[in-house]
């Protein structure tokens, strides 16, 4: 079956080459049947890559270790649930996932636009197939997932234990969906410039694709942050890791684009800016993909082994050069149709919002690539850590949250000072009031956190005020009950109110970030059984140790051969709060030098965090048990001497002896204890953002759309034929 997989890759490459030629021939020669054939090449690519993906999935699920990638990243002891996800844990498999997702999303988009923007779509098809051909070529020539070895090894190396968590099943597909969806607006942006058609129809189409990219990328980023917080043993959700940053940058420029696109749609302005943003977003998405495969930066996300840096650098170079060339040579058709009417307008606020978002992206770009640039210029390694990022991103984030409140309250084109004063009075009072209340109840005076609370309160009241006024206006027109009026208001104005819900989510998210990062209490005590430690207002007592042996008994269901942990009793003011069970899993390694028993636990240990999560705070715990005591080491050494490699079951018996010794004579263990306020609101904020995004992107029911169009058209025709036409003609 590996041969079928490889044949699929070669066929896919041929389809890409054909499709590029057919699309370009069709659009240049005015032969729509060839453009259509080119579009079908994208469908064919999706079909062929689906077959290839299924072949690889079956190999993983069947433990077919003749496939090198299966042998390198899976094993018989890896739970089936994780074997299915192990497909994308390797360089080869992740390339296939990337190409497959790109082909599927491209097929969907091209199907939806099959009767529209024919010239633009033909160029976009060629560009999308170019990307498809690039990724398939990488697999064919550099990292083929279907390379086999016979005879097959008896057992595989197993999935990286860090990846054996449920969120990791969905995080890469969501993130890759975001990245691949970013390529589609890039392709349509290039297509529009090539076809010289940057118009209303292009805006309508690209807005939806960009929104989908933004949504999926955002969900992928949140899942990654959630995984980091819940599964990794450092207690944080964002470490300014290079690959985290690489996913955030296109999301920031994508957010800027979604806002400034509205200005282009309404006022015909910022065309050069928007073209540059959409092309930059696609380029940043490819750069993010490049980072994990180039080996140039250290990261938990990086794929080891073979580097694909050079092909990616060439691709990125072509993307940048092509983008700059097209924007410069098409600047005549990108001239603004209008000027800014007033500084007190939504256009101005969106412009400011764009500057902040792009500024954030620039700061993160510099901090992420600085090590590389510095090493290239000076020959010395340099690194930039979280304090550097926080210094510049926090003030920008404050301005961003403030603008997310101002934008919804200001009208397009122009707003009067009197209206602005009236509309901002309550939010300003709310912002100032929030700070005073927090100081009054004893919240410490961390200026950054208090400023964020004030800005978030301001933004929340601004947006909620919009919902209130809109509902009131709707009730005045339609005489509905408040709930019905609110639902109808949102349904009939999905873009606007979906966007407002996103703004609510952002404010809530930043409240969680500010509180959890500024007011966190953390300690790392070493405790013996029975001992307690105080963290914040909570007391944590080490009640007793825990131990499990064999992958089948692993309570975390990650297939660890040995898991040592603790029962912790958490109290506050003498009252029981929670019982927590943190543990550390030890996994098999493929190092024979560690011995028959040592190799069963010689792999990278992984912390299994235990936490009590609540709306007001999280109590987060992790344990690093001491497995290197003389007594435990002696058990391992005896096992290594007496048990052969051919008897893994006897090795597990030795581990059972070790576990029993640990339980009977538990050594002091190192703990990491954290109390973080309002962490839950980060995830709640993220859910609100996702929900608002879905509402904003959801198409209006066709009946509603026809009715709205007919109504507006009837009013237009009446105005044309009646006295009102005189007033319009004079306007």
């Amino acid at each position: 079956m590996a041969i079928l997989g490889s044949a699929c890759l070669l066929l896919a490459l041929g389809v890409c080459v054909y499709g590029i030629g057919a699309s370009l021939y069709g659009v240049r020669r005015g032969r729509p049947e060839w453009s259509e054939s080119g579009r079908r090449a994208v469908y064919a690519l999706a079909g062929v890559l689906t077959v290839a993906f299924v072949v690889l999935e079956i190999a993983f699920l069947r433990n077919d270790f003749t496939f090198n990638t299966v042998a390198d990243t899976s094993s018989r002891t890896t739970p089936a649930f994780y074997r299915a996800a192990a497909v994308w844990s390797s360089q080869e498999g992740s390339l296939l996932l990337w190409a497959w997702l790109m082909s599927m999303w491209s097929s969907l988009v091209l199907f939806l636009t099959r009767r529209r923007m024919r010239d633009v779509a033909a160029y976009a098809t060629a560009i999308l197939l170019g990307f498809g051909g690039f990724f398939v070529s990488l697999m064919v020539f550099y990292a083929n997932p279907f390379v086999t070895t016979t005879p097959a090894p008896a057992e595989g190396a197993g999935l990286d234990p860090l990846l054996r968590f449920p969120t990791m099943m969905i995080h890469p597909p969501m993130l890759y969906s975001g990245y691949t969806l970013c390529i589609i607006p890039f392709a349509f942006g290039m297509g529009a410039l090539l076809a010289r058609r940057v118009d209303a129809e292009w805006i309508r189409a690209i807005r939806r694709f960009s929104f989908a990219a933004w949504l999926f990328l955002g969900i992928g980023i949140m899942l990654g942050a959630s995984w980091s917080y819940s599964e990794l043993g450092w207690g944080g959700y964002w470490g300014w890791d290079a690959v985290e940053n690489a996913s955030l940058m296109p999301w920031l420029t994508g957010t800027a684009f979604l806002h400034s696109l509205m200005i282009q749609e309404k006022r015909g302005m910022l065309k050069v800016w928007n073209a540059s943003l959409v092309l930059a977003t696609g380029t940043l998405a490819i750069m993010g993909t490049f980072l994990v495969r180039s080996g140039i930066l250290d990261s938990i996300h990086a794929f080891g082994g073979q580097t694909l840096g050079v092909p990616f650098v060439i691709l990125i170079g072509v993307m940048i050069a092509g983008s700059v060339y097209l924007v410069v040579t098409r600047r005549d058709m990108l001239r603004s149709e209008h000027r800014l009417d007033s500084l007190l307008s939504r256009e101005s606020v969106f412009l400011a919002n764009n500057i902040v978002l792009v500024g954030l992206c620039f700061v993160i770009f510099w901090g992420t690539y600085f090590p590389l640039i510095s090493e290239a210029l000076t020959g010395k390694e340099a690194s930039v850590g979280p304090p550097w990022f926080d210094r510049y991103t926090v003030p920008l984030a404050l301005v961003l949250v403030l603008l997310s409140g101002i934008g919804p309250v200001i009208a397009w084109r122009r707003a009067t000072l009197a209206n602005a004063r009236r509309n901002f009075l309550a939010p300003l009072i709310a912002g100032a009031g929030a700070v005073l209340v927090l100081l009054a109840v004893g919240v410490p005076g961390d200026w950054k956190a208090l400023a964020m609370f004030a800005c978030a309160a301001f933004a929340l009241v601004c947006v909620l005020q919009e919902f209130y006024r809109g509902t009131r206006a709707r009730r005045a027109m339609a005489n509905e009950s408040p709930p019905a009026a609110l639902v109808a208001l949102v349904k009939r104005n999905r873009r606007r109110y979906g966007g407002y819900i996103v703004h609510i989510g952002i404010a809530v998210l930043f409240i969680g970030v500010a509180a959890s990062s500024s007011f966190q209490r953390t300690i790392e005590p070493t405790l013996s059984v029975g001992q307690s430690s105080k963290v914040g207002a909570y007391t944590v007592r080490y009640v007793k140790p825990t131990a499990t042996v064999s992958p089948a008994d692993d309570a975390a269901h990650t297939g660890s051969t040995l898991s040592l942990g603790a029962v912790l009793d958490v109290t506050k003011n003498g009252r029981h709060v929670a019982t927590l069970y943190p543990s550390e899993g030890f996994y098999a390694s493929d190092e024979p030098s560690q011995g028959s028993v040592g190799s069963l636990i010689g792999g990278q240990p992984v912390s299994h965090v235990a936490m009590d999560a609540g709306l007001t705070r999280n109590v987060w715990t992790a344990i690093a048990p001491d497995i290197e005591t003389p007594q435990l080491k002696r058990i391992v050494e005896i096992g290594n001497r007496t048990i052969p490699f051919s008897s893994p079951e006897d090795g597990l018996i030795a581990l059972a002896v070790l576990a029993r010794s640990y339980l009977q004579h538990p050594p002091p263990a190192e703990f990491h204890l954290i109390v973080s306020p309002l962490v839950m609101w980060i995830w709640i904020g993220g859910l609100i953002v996702a929900g608002g995004g879905l509402i904003a992107i959801w198409p209006a029911p066709s009946a509603l759309r026809r009715r709205a169009t007919a109504l507006a058209g009837a009013r237009g025709r009446r105005d044309r034929s009646g006295d009102a036409a005189q007033g319009l003609a004079g306007a």
């Binding site: 066929l11 749609e265 003609a729």
Partner: protein, 101 residues
Amino acid sequence: MNLLVAVLTLLLLAAVMLVLSAPLRAARRRPDPRSAELDELRAAREAKYREIRDAELDYRTGKLSAEDYAAVDSALRAEALDILNRLSALEDEGGATNVSQ
């Protein structure tokens, strides 16, 4: 197994060629030269109607004064009329009958 793989590969190749060649085997269509401009005008029309609705909502939620709303609404309706006239002229030219698709 090798025979099965060979058969599957050939079937896949045949399916791909069938899909790619279908438009080339169908009757050749002459592209409508007006279709791009029609699509554009229809999209512009939808966008302008949305702007008119947004302006009304801005007025009803207190973001625009009555005078500002009157001025903005007039301007938008004039722009909408222009689009409708151009769309109508193009459709009449081509003999199209359905304005509100």
